[in-house]
């Protein structure tokens, strides 16, 4: 399993999760976990996803998510999970 962390940060609006999840479903990326908070009006979401067999390359997924973020008005990042594991777990 190739786990990745997708983070979405920006001003809260209707349909952020829906749009991101729709894209992931269309691209064959399975969502393993979602957590979300709103801090002083700012939407903060983290998803752990399985990128074992997406229908697009990693590069394309990153640039698609970038574009999607621009459309919604939020910042979307997709990173391999190991970076967080390394930093926060011994």
């Amino acid at each position: 399993m190739k786990k990745c962390v997708i983070t979405v940060v920006g001003k809260d609006t209707v349909g952020i999760i829906a749009k991101v999840c729709t894209y992931l479903a269309e691209t064959g990326i399975n969502i393993l976990d979602i957590s979300q908070t709103i801090v002083s009006g700012y939407f903060n979401m983290m998803m752990i996803v399985d990128m074992t067999s997406p229908s697009k390359s990693y590069d394309d997924v990153i640039s698609d998510l970038d574009k999607l973020g621009e459309e919604i008005g939020v910042l979307i990042k997709c990173q391999r999970e190991e970076i967080f594991d390394m930093m926060h777990r011994i």
Binding site: D59, K77, M86, R89
Partner: protein, 454 residues
């Protein structure tokens, strides 16, 4: 499982606090390129570098994209060229042809520096070492991406004062050769004592003879991250201060370890070491001097600076050592004047002198780094400064270095602009009392005694 706060913390370090991996440096052994035919040497060097490092830059870029951490530099270090060219080079100009080949290879693979145009002369100088050293000014003037270093001493051998004297003249000559670019050549030339074999940082990087055929070394960074972490413990005790630095250093180093392992796996080249140095850039918020200010000094250079730096450097190592499987290289906080906005501010405010910088190098960093001095500084004075710094390294069993730029045509009060990561620097005054009778003595300073330590 990772939680949202941990993810946010990591991303904040990258987005707001300038966390990055400073360099992935591929060390390449060139000893097998030696021959008594110069054009054959050049051809073999070009071939070996461009085949081993052909994917270095793209691999670095892929890792950067996948993990979301910037990898600022991709670089190459090579076997000291005075060894590789010994059989083929009969004149300094012969060595310059190798410099040009290295520059061409660096351009082809897309790295931003290649280090190892070097000679190790800590005890004595062979004919080929001397030829290489004498070729440095022309080599620096006729190439773009080459870094050169000369190791003039060590704790075990003492200091080769003949080499120290020669380097005073070579630095001056390099400044003259590159005077149209504000003597930029000297920014890529460093004189070392106790140079390590596995340093990934320029300008002193070379691939030592004790190393594998090829190796991946990684330099981490993150002064901004340490600075931000310390903002939350203002006024707290030294215990809290030190714990905060250690924890932050651990996290920063883990990122370097991950990147090093990943790069090593993808390139099929063994992982060498992580260099734990805190390395600043001229960007605001990416400064070691800012950390010293956050610890409680008005400016770097104020009384207390040496103690604060000793503490910082030690805690970074203590935190970083556990985060990496192999630590090496220089592993000390860097305080290059031109590459650190806080250091530049301290010089401009009159808080920092060369003498205080020299004292600071006793407890950390690699030495007097990226210091611009007046263009009319005498070669003997430069040699005196080098000898002082080498003596600190020799006696304290640590690496020290001098990267000093006598900016031809400029004097104290003026500023010199090197551009990019090399930054800009105010020209600092140099103690102008004469030391030529000292540096003009022939021979070497004997190695120091290793007992009766006081």
């Amino acid at each position: 499982m990772i939680n949202i706060f941990e993810v946010t913390e990591t991303n904040k370090m990258v987005e707001q606090e300038n966390l990055d991996v400073r360099t992935i440096t591929m060390g390449i052994n060139l000893l097998d390129c030696a021959s008594d035919n110069l054009s054959e040497v050049n051809e073999k060097i070009y071939k070996k570098i461009t085949s081993l490092a052909k994917d270095l830059v793209s691999t670095g870029n892929d890792i950067e994209k996948e993990f979301g951490v910037p990898i600022v530099n991709k670089r190459i270090s090579i076997t000291p060229i005075s060894l590789v060219g010994a059989a083929a080079c009969k004149t300094p100009q012969d060595y310059v042809t190798i410099a040009k080949t290295l520059d061409r290879a660096a351009h082809t693979v897309g790295v931003n520096f290649i280090g190892g145009y070097s000679a190790i002369v800590s005890k004595g100088m062979t004919k080929s070492d001397e030829l290489l050293i004498r070729s440095i000014p022309e080599a620096m003037a006729s190439t773009e991406l080459i870094c050169s270093s000369v190791n003039v001493g060590s704790t075990k051998t003492g200091i080769n004062m003949d080499a120290v004297r020669l380097m005073g003249h070579i630095i001056k000559e390099t400044a003259e050769y590159t005077k149209s670019d504000d003597s930029l050549g000297c920014a890529k030339l460093v004189v070392l004592c106790n140079a390590p074999d596995d340093n990934p940082f320029m300008a002193g990087a070379f691939h030592g003879v004790s190393e594998d055929d090829a190796v991946i070394n990684v330099g981490v960074s993150g002064p901004g991250v340490v600075k931000y972490a310390l903002e939350s413990v203002r006024g707290e005790s030294f215990e809290v201060l030190c714990e905060t630095i250690k924890k932050t250093a651990f996290k920063i180093t883990r990122v370097g370890q991950l990147v090093a392992q990943e790069a090593s796996r993808r390139l099929g080249i063994p992982f060498g070491i992580i260099d734990l140095s805190l390395a600043p850039t001229p960007a605001v918020g990416d400064s070691v001097a800012d950390i010293l200010e956050e610890i409680g000094l008005e400016h770097a250079g104020a009384p207390g600076t040496t103690a604060a730096l000793a503490l910082l450097n030690d805690q970074v190592k203590k935190g970083g050592v556990m985060a990496s499987s192999y630590v090496g290289g220089l592993s000390g906080a860097f305080i290059p004047v031109s590459e650190d906005q806080g250091m530049i501010n301290a010089v401009n405010a009159g808080a920092l002198t060369i003498e205080k910088l020299e004292a600071m190098t006793c407890v950390c960093s690699v030495g007097l780094d990226m210091i611009a001095v007046p263009g009319d500084t005498k070669p003997e004075t430069l040699s005196g400064i080098i000898a002082d710094e080498a003596a600190i390294g020799m006696v304290n069993q640590k690496t020290t270095a001098v990267r000093i730029i006598p900016v031809i045509g400029k004097g104290v009060g003026e500023t010199v602009e090197f551009g990019g990561l090399l930054g800009y620097a105010p020209i600092m005054p140099v103690n102008s009392f004469d030391c030529s009778a000292f540096v003009n003595r022939k021979g070497r300073i004997p190695a120091p005694i290793h007992s009766f330590k006081n």
